[in-house]
Subunit: 133 residues, 2 copies
DNA sequence: CTAAATGATACTAATATAGTATCATTTAGT
DNA sequence: ACTAAATGATACTATATTAGTATCATTTAG
């Protein structure tokens, strides 16, 4: 089981790189040269970050991307939500149907507690916090 | 993202049911009648639990399964490991290769911390502990 | 006008998840 | 000895998710 998928990971790397360039507009070409991530995939990821308003984009010649927020305002959980959907560790198989075994719901409660702890930990991780270390 | 997959979930339901039957040998037929889970899939799961020495099996007519351990000795993490492999939230994409960005490793450290917290929480969840509530 | 960039969208490949199907073997009961 | 009811082992199939690629349209600096 992975906590973050590859697109979330690449996104974080890209954002860290962009943060280090201050407010310079960076093209995909420049980014993949630095990060060594696959070009079309990286491009798709940046476009998604733009749609999510985490990046701003500039079209045309000399175009590219810059951060739309301060590094400390960009949370890892936000990236997870963009690329992996809502963080729900706990989806029950017998949604809405009557659960045939009351004990299983105890299991759901336990997993919900774990989910909350994970969310609390993730809440501390931002582009800014990774940049500093 | 899910913490447990369907086979882990069914396995836990099955083990809870078996624990409630004390030391009576339970066949797959009887189990699926109770849990309403798909028959061949449930069967495969019980066979895997047998291989993992969490259940004992009896072949032939009137055969079936019983717990091989006490309920409080069967941990959810064990089931996760049987059906989902080792719990590693943190696999790095750039395994062994030189990481092109030192900052990403900071991310790994943070995720490792989360992994440890999850493991600590999971360590408290056994068949026995779910049975009591 | 053109080259270099992103926007939008559709497609493909590989892997993981959620199962099913089947034949071989074992065993209790007659 | 025979049979029905069970598991053991193994191979197969379907669906969803992950990890990408490809392409055409549009924008813009020079």
């Amino acid at each position: 089981m992975k906590l973050i998928t590859r697109d979330t990971d690449y996104a974080m790397r890209a954002l860290i790189f962009l943060a280090q360039q201050k407010n310079r507009v960076i093209s995909v070409s420049e980014l993949v040269r630095e990060l060594k991530t696959p070009r079309p995939f990286s491009r798709k990821i940046l476009q998604q970050l733009n749609k999510a308003k985490i990046l701003r984009s500039f079209k045309g010649n000399h175009g590219g991307f810059i951060l739309a927020k301060k590094p400390k305002e960009i949370f890892l959980v936000d990236l997870i939500r963009v690329f992996q959907g809502p963080l729900e560790l706990n989806e029950c198989i017998f949604k809405k149907k009557i659960c045939p075994n009351r004990n299983c719901c105890v299991l759901r409660n336990r997993i919900s507690r774990i989910e909350n702890k994970v969310l609390a930990e993730l809440g501390a991780i931002t582009v800014g916090s990774l940049l500093k270390e």
